[in-house]
Symmetry: D4
Subunit: 254 residues, 8 copies
């Protein structure tokens, strides 16, 4: 059965006995599980280092549970984002060990035993204001789930620039910085100019009027006058964390 | 003849012999001069403290010259903005004493004798980058023409925040600050948080791609996380200076 | 304890015994209070003449109350805007002396004793129609809280231009005018041409169809044919008042 | 030959010997002339009271001349708009009697003898500024060609509202008002509130930055707070005149 | 008392004993009634031939009732649009004689006795589909209230062009045509080509996806390939009717 | 009675005894049924091969039922899309034999007896993710109702390109492919490059932030780098199926 | 050499000796030719029935010539679109037998001998106005090059609906209709309602002001009230023809 | 002199004798050089590992040369992007050793001796089509200048997915992938799903019509269904390279 074989391979990869590339070669055909409404891609852990993350929006609670169950069977873990309250409840019932973050709307079933962080450095999540916190927490939960150490620095928007400058120690320690900001998105540019490491900017839909649901911040970040700033979609804490994790799990040069 | 009477009244207002309100009462009818293609509003100096400024875009050089001549006859001065090279040449020929700024595309005929600055404090014009300079110069020329002391602080964008912070003396001295910035427009927010005086933000069309000709900076400025920041149209150095001058010529409380 | 020291300094500044700059120098380090989810910036009264205003959108009622309490402890006052009904109720319970304006969605705890207006002149708030009133009231509440005298002139949109013209006395008296208008935003241009003082235009989201939630008014105001008109974000009565207060508290030239 | 028959019918309609409806009945089939690249609709004079107007943009000078010649053969007249300089030259060469307006970019071959104005009242064309003049002239040329009396009132934008109010006589005389304005488009609302007759607003692409080529004025006009204001496309002086002429040639109730 | 005097004058104007211009002269000052939250413009019937229409959106039911009552006192009638269900109920309670149209969301208190239609011809309201009906009914109610004869032609969208062509009799009878259409807005162009009279196009917010709440129809109508088509705001049945009524009450040439 | 005559003709056309063109000729006048609020076009089955489909948005349940009943009387069948829950219930009550798909929000009353598929090949509906399923089901229901064989291939988005490539057999079998995708819409381009048959792309409103309710996918699909991809409106599963059915019912060359 | 082998296979496929699928199987590896700046995909004729078409925009004339030469070597033909004047000249020089259409900006080197049309029916290209002709010609050239019979029907926009209706014979004959229209794009909806076959709508950038370079027509077409209308990008005559050709070369059901 | 001291420090940092942090501490004040029109930030090499890059758009050739000269004096190198032809010529004249890339519009003066690549792995630049090449070359030039090994994979757009798949070796070798694509931007999603390393997507302005100068590709990339994809501004090859270099110069965990 494909799930068992995959689970075994994944364990041996985790134990360092088999390289990912070898594992891929050993799997003759592409391991996809066809549910009625979805194709669960069990190859993802080998191809990308982490199982498929379940984006819950637009799914029914039943669909979300079924996909998570399929992932749990093959990899012993799952991570679900944008889970509505009923979905979180349904997942909690089925998987009592799952860790639920209400503000971030995430559900995470950690492998047992929990692995040590595998990323090289620390991912720092910075927010401009209190209202950016839900997106920041999504980023933090996802980054931790993907095997990274995470720190946070909250409510340091540029209208009071000294709040940021007095914490430059935290900035200097980070291997990657995720900047979460709505409204004018200016924090990304200032941080981008203060550090040497990659900066991932997440515009949030915080604001009103001509913020257009985060478009003002998105445009500002795309036009950042600091080089080395890259951008993800509005409110996309998940995407920022996934990219940061890829950066923090640098593939060694051959 | 209306122009003579207006010119006399304006001189007496300037000399403090007549208040603007008295002058308005003495003019029985509304003094508008009808050219073939324009109505020149000779009342503006009394109503708003400065003659109508000639916005040259969309006019022919001949029209621009004729309107400037009409203003010169009634008030002894004029200020033209957005003057194309042929217009600047035509105005230079007709009014050899006019001051022409090629980068700002302005033509200014100063009254003779030149009056002392009448505004209360100093207007500080700040730019994020070298490319914002033409707009900043338009603002500076207009502000000076309207009777204000002007200082500038150039190329202090937030990607190198220390360039700005080390000049906080200039910021603290100003009575009004005009921030000229394109791209992410972030400078307005940072300056807005550093000063106690009004900040007028001018987005510029500097940038490319998703800057959309200055829209990114405009939106960022409208959504500034610093309070007390107000905004004018893209590249509108003139408008920023006019507003700054109104602020700097505060009407005394009665 | 930093709050006590700040409170003392603020009183001495208010009493004129210490200048703001001296006060800043006496504070060795930057006084920021770190709550779990926010950094409260206790330096704001000295830097900008008024404590941080609490923008409640995107916060929970508990967060809003905690931030207000922190401000009350250090400065004896707070001002909260965009407070939802439950927030207003929570703040009323905790601070029975707070003044609540349901239409403006503001909560203001005045210092005791209430200081006399410190601004130089009168801020006039003008609206185009009845539906613009909530935004106008937010502006009025904020401007008064920041130490300004405020007058209002309501429902004088330009479709009946005589309603405005017959009240030109009020216009002529003002030191700053805030124009609040949705739909075509035309009132800002007409007022801008009638007064000599700064005009701050606030587009409102009043309208339907191609008003696009206030974008039509915003664009019209940014393109005002009257010079000296500056603009803030859609529905941003707070921002208009903050800017007007900065203008009305002109720093004296040195 | 169809053109001859049409020309005869049109003359008899003009002479009042035949009603348009009778004329339509007498034409058995639909009279369309197929050129290689266009179908010239010779029925238009009967259906809509005026021959097809040739919109020249996107056509070659040769195509424009050929279409105009076809119209001239059947109706003894033509009107071409948006004619580029080479087109105007080509038409002038072919039709020396044609009236060319360089600023409006129109070419008009009047019927011989020129008919008296057939519209009931006067169409008044009002502009906000000098730069709106080319569009206003297109409107005036077209309206006159379609048999209307036309008056103009230029450069009366609302930043100097008295320029408009002192000419209320002209406003009160008009049967239809066409308001041509760029930037904030506010003039349409003010005029709409001052008259009882239909107001057709023409936004112009005059302006810069956030005027977005006339979009700001277009939106303001669509959201006019004055009722009875209708709108045509940006810079569409022709369309405004065509609509005004339909209004001014009211069909009598049966 | 101003209301009584106005009411008397209006009756005499209606009776033809006094011309509107004479009536205006007899009123020395401008009759505006200042409620707490609104200025009711009692001069509107003389200036524009119909009392101010109450646009209810953004008002409270109490405000709506108070404004309607003020109008009823001075003119014996009122018309309210966009009245929510609670508003309609409040107005029904206060004015049992008012005519309420639930689909159009209008409340109309007719003068007693009801005047005969004063407009010259018939206004025809045409819709593309069943979903456009609420906007069409608003237009019909308003046009009838303003003294016009109204006919309707429903559900004749261009996807089945024969439904329209077989009713060309109704089109030919009309003095003004109002075309109400969402989605592609194509009906306005087809009608514009079939009639000789003015066509007022009303885009509706009917549609989904890339209709963007009526923007697709609005743009199509502004770009109509038929001349003589003018446009009002999305869903603005009221505005279309007001303009149509101005057209249908043509001022006689002097 | 027209409905009886139409029903007879349709049966004879279905039986191959009469060609559609003959049937059209036998109907002297255009058969439209005028309900109070709608014109039901009974000619549609002959003109376009399928009765008018009832688009329920913006209609009341009563209107939907009445239109469906009219169609059932003349053609023995109907298809309703975008039916809300109450509409579906009302139609179920009136037509117990109707087939209701809750996810697709469709109600279909099949003719009795059900005809065999008349389209030439198979229409394949492909989705990028689970959330695209409701739109895909609407397409599938409509395509089957219009007489086509339909297959589906779900959740094969390009982030795991192998999920698609391993199913190229299904792609190669299809006569037309409908690609349903939100977010980046990239699946349409990849499929367009893999097949030789027409590809109809349906952007869905799945996504968040800068997906702008499906605009991102719509633009990507319009700019597909694969030739032969055509696009319908966002979430318009119905339109895609109608076009696919037209393609699959190719008219034979003459 | 791969090109020779491909050329042989293509000939045998054209001769019916080998099926495309067999030909694909015989080619062991994927035949791509790597130029310095491009990968020429020689498999396209087998996969999609026609060689890669060279889209010239953004390429240098040298690059265009080199890619065309590569295609000519392997398949004996090429088709280039959007070729600038210098490119057309360069291609004419290198390939004197190429057919150049200046208005459509296409260069086509036909195989020798020219094959008979392989598509099943006739593709009809319809335009709304004379200015849409360049796009229509691009569509016609491409469709003919891809083996289809093509007819055209020009300048039949809906403002004169009778021009279209009198040519319904041409509409009824077509197997696919391509509708090319700018401005309001209404022609697509009217044609969609008149035919039973697929309709591909091509918005053109013809128009001005709020046509936004073809966006108005694009949106109108996406929102067509006629079912069965599909849309391609603005001015994309090529894409419409490619899709029409796919439809007209229907794969036979298995 | 500051430049000398900086140059010395930079050399010692490059030689590994001094850490960047030590170097920063040794510089007492912030080293900014004030030109007339710009502030050159000489601290950038220490803060961010590379001297300020000169973005030439909006500058005059003289300004560009002067800034480059200032950088060359302090750091022995410079890199200029978006240099127009006259600028490139002016820089070539002044710095004959500079490396000029005409297609990328870059001018690079390499330090002498040229340092070995300092980045850990290889940056792979992938393009969808030939027209994306200028942006890709800018990225490659910048990445190499910043000390990285660079490979390219050109013209592998997803319409011929096999062109990409057959080169998966190159993808698997890379430490960071930069995907440069216009039109539908789909390549970023496909690549994002094939690799485990960070993917930086650069939308290009290649395309026409509804590509809106690269907006379609930008939105598609922001909405990529592959996780780990981050985005920079349209045509911003420089920004992508700067971010990729930050990633490739990972700071070692402490």
């Amino acid at each position: 059965m494909i799930e068992q074989r995959l689970a075994d391979l994944l364990k041996r990869v985790a134990a360092g006995e088999v390289t990912p590339d070898d594992a891929l070669r050993r799997l003759g055909s592409y391991p996809v599980e066809a549910l009625e409404f979805a194709h669960v891609d069990h190859l993802r852990p080998l191809l990308q280092g982490f199982p498929e993350v379940v984006f819950c929006e637009g799914k029914t609670p039943e669909q979300a549970v079924e996909i998570c169950a399929s992932l749990e069977r093959s990899s012993g873990m799952f991570l679900a984002t944008r889970a509505s309250a009923p979905m979180r409840e349904a997942l909690r019932t089925r998987f009592p060990a799952a860790q639920i973050n209400e503000r971030a709307r995430t559900v995470f079933l950690e492998p047992d035993p929990a692995p040590a962080p595998s990323g090289g450095g620390t991912i720092l999540v910075v927010t401009a204001g209190t209202s950016d916190q839900p997106v920041a927490e999504e980023a933090a939960v996802v980054a931790r789930a993907m095997g990274n150490r995470v720190e946070t620095l909250l409510d340091v928007g540029v209208a009071g620039i000294h709040r940021l400058l007095r914490r430059s120690d935290a900035l200097q320690r980070a291997a990657v910085v995720i900047v979460v900001a709505g409204m004018d998105g200016a924090l990304a540019s200032v941080v981008g100019g203060l550090v040497r490491v990659p900066v991932i900017a997440v515009p949030t839909s915080v604001g009103y009027g001509a913020s257009f649901g985060g478009v003002a911040a998105l445009l500002a970040m795309l036009n950042s006058c600091a080089s080395g700033v890259v951008v993800v979609n509005i409110d996309n804490g998940f995407g920022a964390a996934a990219a940061a994790s890829r950066i923090n799990h640098r593939r060694e040069p051959e």
